[in-house]
């Protein structure tokens, strides 16, 4: 019996949407963590009932939550509710209450000095942790998870989120002082794990660009050749590009697609070079980008009018699909509002399932989650009135 589980992060909590393989009737559970911002919820590919959530608040900071039963119950790793006081944990020897401790590695042995980055006004500011934007569980180990954080850095846990350690080679890259925040902050928002090469990983940072490691995260190099950003002083600079999202298909992980601040881009050489594939899109500004589960050349984007007008062109909510790996795009409108629609779709708020036909899902800042069970040909709202949606992840359960 197949089923689909959608993990939705919103401005005021998380929600889980569930359906069987037909994807016609959905149940909605939540809010989880009510009143808190939930930037991201994602399940482990190795254990679908193991879910991780990034819960945060401007008042109370960062919280990490874990579920071992598909979202029915949650705990802060290492600090389950009702636990007797005292540290460290008797079973593991690990300290309690550190699942939300994200401290940049400045150790003499293997860290990097706490360098500075560029602020909006061009001055230099020290890195300061603010929140976790994205959690990326390992492809084969439920206890290993990567976290992309603001101010941009990459952290890893190997003990199920009880403790976190920075991979400081990224933040310590010599280009770090030239990174700068985008409108949403200086966030590391995308983490892609190469299914064929455990040492290779991609990340994307607003506004620094895309980076790749080929040695498990020890060293990194910018992969932004071919990007052209007219809103920065040097449009083809090595770093400084506002990359909104990158994505790959697991069957050919050297091919990457990117939605940049402006421009939809493609790389066929693991980010070595990029070319624009915006083609006939009505606007090449946008945030999310997705690849069909079974067709590596089928790509989805949601055009947004401009960098100041964060809503669909002409008030028509249209997903655009390319079946040619970019350049030629067709609008998908059936079931989506085609007048007076002024919502946005954020970078982590679109995902696909692995059923056949492939399901496509996205959430909006207006609180709607739309789904298509036919690869995007037709759409229907799964739920209409959630808080603003920050992220959508999909699990295909068998």
């Amino acid at each position: 019996m197949t089923a689909v589980r959608i993990l939705v992060g919103t401005r005021k909590g998380a929600f889980i949407l569930g359906a069987d393989g037909k994807r016609t009737s959905w149940n909605v559970s939540g809010p989880l963590f009510p009143g808190w911002e939930v930037y991201h919820v994602k399940g482990s590919p190795a254990d679908p009932d193991c879910l991780y959530a990034s819960q945060s608040s401007g008042w109370f900071g960062q919280i990490i939550q874990r579920s071992n039963d598909g979202g029915r119950t949650w705990e802060q790793p290492g600090s389950p509710a009702g636990v007797d006081p005292g540290a460290p944990d008797e079973a593991t020897g690990l300290p309690r209450g550190e699942s939300n401790k994200f401290v940049y590695d400045t150790s003499h042995e293997h860290g990097r000095p706490l360098t500075t980055h560029q602020w909006y006004d061009g001055t230099q500011r020290p890195w300061e942790f603010k929140r976790v934007w994205h959690l990326e569980p390992s492809l084969d180990d439920p206890e290993t998870v990567y976290a992309g954080v603001e101010d941009a850095a990459l952290f890893r846990t190997t003990d199920g989120c009880r403790t976190w350690h920075e991979l400081p080679g990224l933040r310590g890259h010599e280009s770090g002082p030239r990174w700068q925040p985008g409108a949403g902050g200086m966030c590391l928002h995308t983490i892609l794990l190469d299914p064929r090469d455990s040492e290779r990983m991609y990340v994307a940072i607003s506004a620094a660009g895309a980076f790749r490691t080929d040695d498990g995260g020890t060293t990194w190099r910018p992969i932004n050749r071919g990007l052209k950003s007219l809103y920065i002083p040097e449009p083809e600079a090595e770093v400084g590009h506002c990359v909104h999202r990158i994505v790959l298909h697991p069957s050919r992980p050297q091919v990457l697609f990117m939605q940049k601040h402006w421009d939809v881009m493609r790389s066929d050489d693991a980010g070595g070079t990029w070319r624009e594939v915006s083609g006939n899109l009505p606007s090449d500004f946008g945030f999310p980008i997705c690849v069909h589960a079974h067709e590596p050349e089928t790509v989805y984007v949601v055009p947004i009018k401009s960098d100041s007008e964060h809503y669909p062109p002409e008030g028509k909510l249209r997903v655009y699909r390319s079946r040619t790996g970019g350049d030629q795009w067709q609008p998908l409108t059936r079931g989506l509002p085609q007048q007076d629609c002024y919502v946005n779709v954020l970078r982590d708020a679109m995902a696909v399932d692995e059923l056949d036909p492939c399901g496509v899902y996205f959430g909006t800042t207006g609180g709607q989650v739309y789904g298509s069970a036919d690869g995007g040909d037709s759409w229907a709202p799964i739920v209409r009135d959630l808080p603003a949606v920050l992220s959508v992840e999909v699990q295909t359960l068998t």
Binding site: W36, S57, F60, G78, R96, G97, N100
Partner: protein, 98 residues
């Protein structure tokens, strides 16, 4: 016995109702109360004080006997009414929108 009142978000995080009661050895200060609170409820670590610096988070305030003591040194003794439990120590999220 020290009485501590947490804001609703932290109450739900710690899984507690209304007041938390604590025993604090020695001088009762912001630091000793928060240390005891975090030892009892480890999930609160990092939510009131920064993990690395131990500084009060910017939008958190502390009140004792109707006085804002947020700006006092963390090791300054708090009033006897707090130490005796006659008055609660309040952890408050600054009012800054919903």
């Amino acid at each position: 016995m020290i009485r501590v009142i947490l804001p609703p978000h932290l109450r739900s995080l710690a899984g507690v109702e209304s007041e938390v009661t604590l025993t604090v050895d020695g001088t009762v200060t912001q630091r000793s109360i928060l240390d005891a609170l975090e030892a009892r409820h480890p999930m609160l670590r990092g939510t009131m004080r920064d993990h690395a610096t131990q500084q009060r988070r910017p939008l958190i305030r502390f009140f004792a006997c109707q006085e804002d003591v947020s700006q006092l040194p963390a090791d300054a003794p708090l009033p006897e009414e707090i130490a005796s439990g006659n008055e609660p120590f309040l952890v408050v999220g600054a009012i800054a929108g919903g």
